[in-house]
């Protein structure tokens, strides 16, 4: 009988959980892009959400958070445009209240929509909301066409000051910050991007005592090979790529869209058909199993018809697809 007991214990010990070898998150791995500048449904939106589309009302925030939780999302990435815009991260307080009112479990990551720094700089310096005047990434002091403050004081600092620690998505106890595309056409001295990131890390450590887990879009790494990010992701490029998987630093970030239709964008973009949810399902089939994070575009992106909230057209089809993967491929 003693031998049997020893055998049983040995089997139990051999059944070790491999999770310890992975990066440690404080939320589920599925998350979605989130924007909150809406006062009504944009005219280009094809499918009408079941939530009344007005982010000035608590009902909108509660409805969106409830649907995120229904889909078993662990986090949402707040697509931030910075100070004096309709997507100022300092305006995220209603999201915190909605999270509290719906169980308190949903986490938030900062998504620094990096073209916003170019636009804000040009608005302030030249009085025009344009990308055509490049942002000088080597000019951290802001003496010329750059400035750390556009990224930090007007963006990151406002996010960290607004979103308390317990709401933040963290990897290895470090709050996650995504950064959108780099490009020669928008930035001068892109090889100085790593200096900008180090300055942002230092400022965040100084003011908030945390070291951000920075996940830039992979284009930044091509522009600045000296960059040492914590992970990378690859933004979709319709119709060439509608899902991507990027492994860097031992962290794999998947990115998947449910569909995309932005013919009213400037310039107009290629249309990616939803195929009744099969596009999202195929993308998740391909990227989800290996991913440590899955960034979905987008929970509420009605501007580009890339949303997956409940609508009168498809009901909860897309929420159910995400929920299914979050359950089966955690």
């Amino acid at each position: 009988m003693r031998a049997l007991t020893i055998l049983i214990i040995a089997v139990a010990l051999l059944s070790g959980d491999r999770a310890g070898a992975q990066s440690v998150r404080n939320a589920g791995k599925y998350g979605a892009m989130f924007s909150w500048w809406y006062e009504s449904l944009p005219p280009q939106t094809h499918d009408t959400p079941t939530i009344e589309w007005d982010a000035r009302t608590p009902a909108w925030w509660n409805g969106v958070v409830r649907q995120a939780i229904y889909a078993h999302l662990g986090w949402i990435a707040a697509a931030s445009w910075g100070q004096n815009t309709a997507a100022d991260p300092a305006m995220l307080d209603p999201l915190l209240r909605a999270i509290d009112a719906n169980g308190g479990g949903l986490k938030i990551a900062l998504f620094d929509d990096t073209t916003s720094e170019v636009l804000r700089k040009n608005m302030e310096r030249h009085g025009t909301w344009t990308l055509s005047l490049r942002f000088d990434l080597a000019d951290l002091d802001g003496r010329g066409e750059g400035g750390l403050r556009y990224f930090y004081e007007e963006q990151w600092k406002r996010y960290f000051a607004t979103v308390p620690d317990r709401y933040r998505l963290k990897i290895n106890d470090r709050p996650v910050v995504f950064m959108w595309h780099g490009g020669f056409e928008w930035y001068a001295n892109p090889s100085a991007f790593h200096s900008l990131i180090e300055a942002l890390r230092a400022a965040t450590r100084r003011d908030f005592g945390v070291d951000p887990f920075v996940i830039p879009e992979e284009s930044w790494f091509r522009l600045d090979p000296s960059l040492r990010p914590d992970a990378l992701y690859d933004w979709f490029d319709p119709p060439r790529t509608t899902w991507t998987s990027t492994n860097f630093g031992g962290v794999t970030v998947g990115h998947v869209i449910p569909g995309f239709n932005c013919t009213t964008c400037d310039p107009p973009s290629a249309v990616v058909g939803r195929q009744n949810g099969e596009l999202l399902r195929a993308g998740l089939d391909v990227v989800a199993p290996r991913a440590d994070l899955v960034l979905l575009e987008g929970l509420v992106n009605v501007d580009e018809n890339a949303e997956f909230v409940e609508t009168l057209t498809w009901g909860r089809t897309y929420l159910d697809i995400v929920r299914s993967f979050a359950t089966l491929v955690p």
């Binding site: 009988m1 003693r2 049997l4 007991t5 055998l7 049983i8 214990i9 089997v11 139990a12 010990l13 059944s15 070790g16 959980d17 491999r18 999770a19 589920g28 078993h72 119709p239 998987s245 058909g273 195929q275 099969e278 596009l279 399902r281 195929a282 089939d285 391909v286 199993p289 290996r290 159910d320 299914s324 979050a326 359950t327 089966l328 491929v329 955690p330």
Partner: protein, 210 residues
């Protein structure tokens, strides 16, 4: 959880060696085959980890009184496999993505039982305890190169959980030391906040009594 298993094993080992000698039976070991009927919550299309697979079971218990036993059971189910396909059009061409979900459950259960009298040839028992379950999942995706240029190796997950387990069995003696047993065990399965369900395991075993 491993510390808990060690403590439970220690208590049960002591109980096995401190059995009531005056009773007709002081201990038994048994082994057999069970059918692991596993069901998880979810939409019908999502039940890729549901299974009906055979499983081997071995166990043993000692009687701490004439009617009450304490013991351990180990059962290791076979791997189940479900393939799902997604048809998607890419660059104007229809393509198929196939995802294969494999899973396997193994449990070590600490069980306390209440038995009918050993004086009869047919002896029933009811059990309750805690099952320490290892649930292994393997997910593999295959698709044409246009969809998946470099197919990744299968992804494996291992969950450990301690959940309640209950059971009943009926042992029919065919000699002084040997009985045939019909048994059912039922346990909940809960892995994190997302995946939950249950496992019901009817089976048959041979029991050697001491």
């Amino acid at each position: 959880m491993i510390r808990f298993i060690r403590c439970a094993s220690l208590v049960l080992t002591i109980s096995l060696f401190c059995t009531e000698r005056a009773a007709a039976q002081s201990a038994y070991i048994q082994g057999g085959i069970v059918m692991d009927a596993r069901r998880f919550s979810g939409q019908p299309d999502d039940r890729v980890f549901d299974a009906n697979v055979s499983s081997m079971m071995i166990g043993g218990a000692g009687f701490v009184t004439a009617l009450i036993s304490a013991g351990l059971e180990l059962d290791a189910g076979r791997e189940s496999e479900v393939a799902q396909t997604t048809a998607v059009t890419i660059a104007g061409r229809p393509e198929v993505v196939t995802t294969t979900y494999s899973s396997r459950r193994r449990s070590v259960s600490a069980l306390f039982g209440i038995h009918s009298s050993a004086a009869h040839a047919v002896r029933a028992g009811v059990y309750a305890g805690l099952a320490f379950t290892a649930f292994h999942q393997r997910i593999a995706t295959a698709a044409p190169p246009i969809v998946l240029s470099a197919p990744p190796p299968p992804t494996e997950f291992a969950h450990l959980a301690a959940t309640p387990i209950v059971g009943v069995d009926v042992a029919v003696s065919i000699s002084r030391h040997l009985a045939l047993v019909g048994a059912v065990r039922a346990q909940s399965l809960s892995f994190g906040s997302e995946l939950s369900g249950f496992s019901v395991r009817p089976g048959a075993a041979a029991r050697v009594m001491f």
